[in-house]
């Protein structure tokens, strides 16, 4: 096996220990936040109460319509200018931005999934004495979840990939640590290794995403059958 160049080992170590960890941290928190907020909002959206539906619709259309980078800029730069208690570090700001976007996606998918459950299920649960929240928590949502699973897995792929947008505000995720490494090597050794480093970032993302997109496709197929 050929010997790796000297610069590789410390860069790889830094990108994995700091960068990959940062990426996974942003993705995990954003995914959890998106799922919880999205499922709640999506379920509430099925209630025929106009003011609430209009408010949730607006939430969905705004955060789905904006490019994620713009949402992250708003959270990171504009919110602290409105009130100082809204000052977040880059990691938190990116996570909030991704969660706003992701929860809008989940809310829309949840609405569809909940509405696909036949009304007999609602009636049967009501007949058993469940109130609205018990009916949804124990009867409707568990059934809707089967239909919700493929879009949730696809969302995880998208959140993983879009977590790179945190790079623009300097959060130390995989792409940012890659960029810092390219710059450091250029200054210290006068050699440019952008191709190898960004290539490696692409490979790592591919290795994380590809199995998940396969899984989403498999779940989708199983649902149709």
């Amino acid at each position: 096996m050929p010997e790796l160049p000297e610069w590789v080992e410390p860069v790889a170590r830094y990108m994995f220990e700091v960068g990959l960890k940062g990426t996974l941290r942003i993705a995990a928190f954003s995914m959890a936040g998106s799922a919880v907020i999205g499922i709640v909002l999506g379920t509430l959206l099925t209630i025929k109460f106009l003011p609430m539906r209009a408010a949730i619709r607006l939430y969905i259309e705004v955060w789905r319509g904006l490019p994620i980078i713009v949402t992250i800029f708003i959270v990171f730069f504009a919110l602290p200018a409105v009130a100082t208690q809204f000052e977040f570090d880059a990691f938190t700001a990116a996570t909030i931005g991704l969660t706003l976007w992701g929860s809008a996606q989940v809310a829309e998918a949840t609405r569809g999934a909940v509405e696909s459950i036949p009304r007999e299920q609602h009636e049967a649960a009501a007949a058993l004495g469940f109130g609205w929240s018990g009916r949804h928590a124990f009867v409707i949502l568990p059934q809707a979840f089967r239909r919700l699973l493929p879009p949730l897995v696809s969302l995880l792929v998208n959140i993983l990939q879009n977590s790179t947008i945190a790079q623009v505000i300097g959060a130390a995720e995989l792409l940012e640590t890659g960029e810092r490494s390219v710059e450091r090597l250029t200054i210290q050794t006068f050699e440019i290794h952008a191709f190898e480093i960004y290539g490696a970032v692409m490979v790592v993302f591919f290795l994380m995403s590809f199995p998940l997109t396969r899984l989403a496709a498999y779940l989708e197929r199983r649902l149709v059958q």
Binding site: I192, A194, M202
Partner: protein
């Protein structure tokens, strides 16, 4: 705490914002047109299993769909010059979003073409049309319309993705608003205006496209 919105921000900066907006629209238009062609051609190759082209298209689709577009932009602009391939910012701008949109559109069109019932194509061939004519006159109009809703979503994503060109300092809308913010320090105004323009753009685009879509819908489907 309430911050008053300074309306003079708009009168003082609208020229730059319009220039940025026009660049966003220009890059999006080129990329959407390109993504349409890539999607129709490679989608047909995938659906009809044209040897070699189909496999290459499959690799292209999987690589693009499973890696972040931001890293693809970095690759094109910051990494390729290292191996002697140099593009200016404008070329990277439309190329990056077009290549991304093309990959997603290939999948959209593949699914659309595969959904065309085989007997339609059989009917075309039985009428003596060549395979190419059958594709152009039967599979493309029907499959293209089946693929329309998903490909429209891809075009809207292409438009939104042009905002990521900020990282190569291409002066489209997001980069422009960011620079105005740096100069004026009117952070709330800069990013509010930026958000409002994007929402206006995306909402009008999706609303008008839905109307076109209902016109082009296949009549026999309810």
């Amino acid at each position: 705490m309430v911050v008053a919105f300074d309306w003079s921000f708009i009168t003082e900066n609208w020229r730059e914002l319009v220039e940025g907006l026009l660049r966003t629209i220009e890059v999006s238009a080129i990329a959407i047109a390109g993504a349409f062609v890539i999607g129709a051609v490679l989608g047909a190759a995938r659906a009809h299993r044209v040897p070699v082209v189909s496999q290459l298209a499959g690799v292209y689709v999987e690589v693009i769909r499973n890696t972040p577009i931001l890293v693809q932009i970095f690759m094109l602009f910051y990494a390729l010059p290292q191996i002697g391939i140099r593009f200016d910012a404008f070329t990277v701008a439309w190329l990056a979003v077009m290549v991304w949109g093309g990959a997603f559109n290939t999948e959209n069109f593949r699914a659309g073409f595969e959904a065309v019932p085989y007997r339609y194509r059989e009917a075309g061939l039985a009428l003596g049309l060549s395979r190419m004519r059958t594709f152009l006159n039967v599979t493309l109009p029907i499959g293209g319309r089946i693929a329309l809703p998903s490909s429209i979503n891809t075009y809207i994503s292409v438009l939104k993705n042009t905002s990521l060109l900020y990282v190569i300092s291409y002066p489209e809308l997001t980069t422009t608003a960011f620079h105005i913010n740096n100069l004026t320090l009117q952070t709330v105004e800069s990013f509010t205006v930026l958000a409002v323009i994007y929402l206006a753009l995306v909402w009008t685009l999706s609303a008008s496209i839905r109307r076109v879509e209902s016109h082009l819908r296949i009549p026999e489907e309810r």
